[in-house]
Assembly symmetry: C2
Homo-oligomer: 226 residues x 2
DNA sequence: ATTTGTGAATTACTTCACAGCA
DNA sequence: TGCTGTGAAGTAATTCACAAAT
């Protein structure tokens, strides 16, 4: 059964399933059951079946899912059939670590454009990639067809940078700055806030035994509260 | 009304509230209403009141919350009344960026111990902090009273490192390795998986206008699926 | 007049239970 | 038998709506 509206939690689980299925496929495994994916990921098998069923029935009853077909299907749903170019703004400690990390990873999301505000950084190279002035974002992004961006600038600059990205036609942003970004409703923002993540740990250090929730990463409320 | 069991989603929102309230307090603001916090964070004001009411009633009707008192209360709930020492394992690109990032941040979560497996890194310093051999984790952590750790090692080494951390008495782990860590039920794991975060963006780039979920960062299912 | 605190209603997500197919 | 797909039941989280307090 194909649903029109896919829950956010489901979308966030899909890349996990893809990783598992893809690994198995490369190991030569032909089919995989929801129980096997459950074992590796920690999600329940029913949940995995429900998630996959949102997009139609790929499985074979009594057998499981064909790894080749399932990997293809998930990549299609996510829009990962071919490499996706990503822009990164803010080539500081964190930004450059993200770039160096990204080049070693087997993900189709590829950082291809770098921007920074500091004049002394502009023109330098990080690996093969030149660092461009952040003012050129609105012009360069459409030209290069890039619609996904990472914000790794100091909090003071984050909103300003975001406005430039939106002007450049960005549709989805991964934000490392510890601020709530204001964007139009058609732009998706996912926050990765390292301080918040660590501070949450402080609570569970003292209140153990509870956790539970699966889920994966941080969306952002769109409106400004009512 | 004081609840015994606090929802995970609430715990993940508390550090956000703390940040906002703390900022206002430093600006000399005496009281803050749930609507004002809502405006800044994007959460609804009812939700904020419900979250805070889990721990008792701090507010004054018709007025709002006293910033001083509220900040103190949230810090108490989270266990952030004094600095919390954190260990980091894996001083690669990402790990060292996290350390350099952390020293500039105004969070009470302080990275104080560094570990790495590579003999050529052991003994070197990153800022003031010496890099220790990862084998000393089980001995050093209890000695230094550290119960929170960051895993920033390659996926192959992540489970092994986690076992050492658990042996050393760690209660909460922030995991950057793209694997599901196996831990005893009293250890809390929060995953930050950069590839998954980026891959989720790919979906929303093509399916705009939806997002919605507030929430903040990645827990991990504990059991192995049933 | 304003804003908290909270039951009630609603919505979202997960788990259960099992029919249907290989 | 084994495993998928799914309606029904159950649980969790959010929003509504308003009484209580200043």
């Amino acid at each position: 059964m194909v649903q029109s509206r896919i829950p956010d939690v489901t979308v966030r689980r899909l890349p996990i399933y893809l990783r598992v299925v893809e690994t198995m496929r490369r190991q030569g495994v032909q089919t995989v059951s929801s129980q096997e994916i459950a074992r590796v990921t920690g999600f329940s098998s029913e949940q995995i079946r429900k998630d996959l069923a949102c997009f139609g029935a790929f499985g074979v009853r009594g057998v499981g899912y064909e790894t080749e077909h399932l990997a293809w299907a998930i990549r299609n749903i996510l829009g990962l059939t071919e490499p996706v170019a990503v822009a990164l703004v803010g080539v500081g400690h964190l930004g450059s670590a993200l770039v160096r990390h990204n080049v070693t990873q087997p993900t189709p999301m590829r950082i291809r454009l770098l921007f920074d505000a500091a004049p002394e950084k502009v023109g330098e190279y990080l690996g093969e990639l030149p660092i461009r002035p952040v003012s050129t974002v609105p012009a360069v992004l459409p030209q290069e067809g890039v619609q996904v961006a990472i914000v790794a600038v100091p909090p003071e600059a984050a909103q300003q940078v975001t406005d430039l990205l939106v002007e450049g036609g960005v549709r989805a942003i991964l934000n490392f700055a510890p601020v709530t970004l204001r964007v139009p409703p058609y732009v998706y923002v996912q926050n990765v806030d390292l301080n918040l993540a660590l501070e949450t740990l402080a609570y569970y250090r003292n209140n153990p035994g509870v956790p539970g929730g699966p889920s994966l990463l941080a969306t952002q409320e769109m409106d400004g509260g009512k």
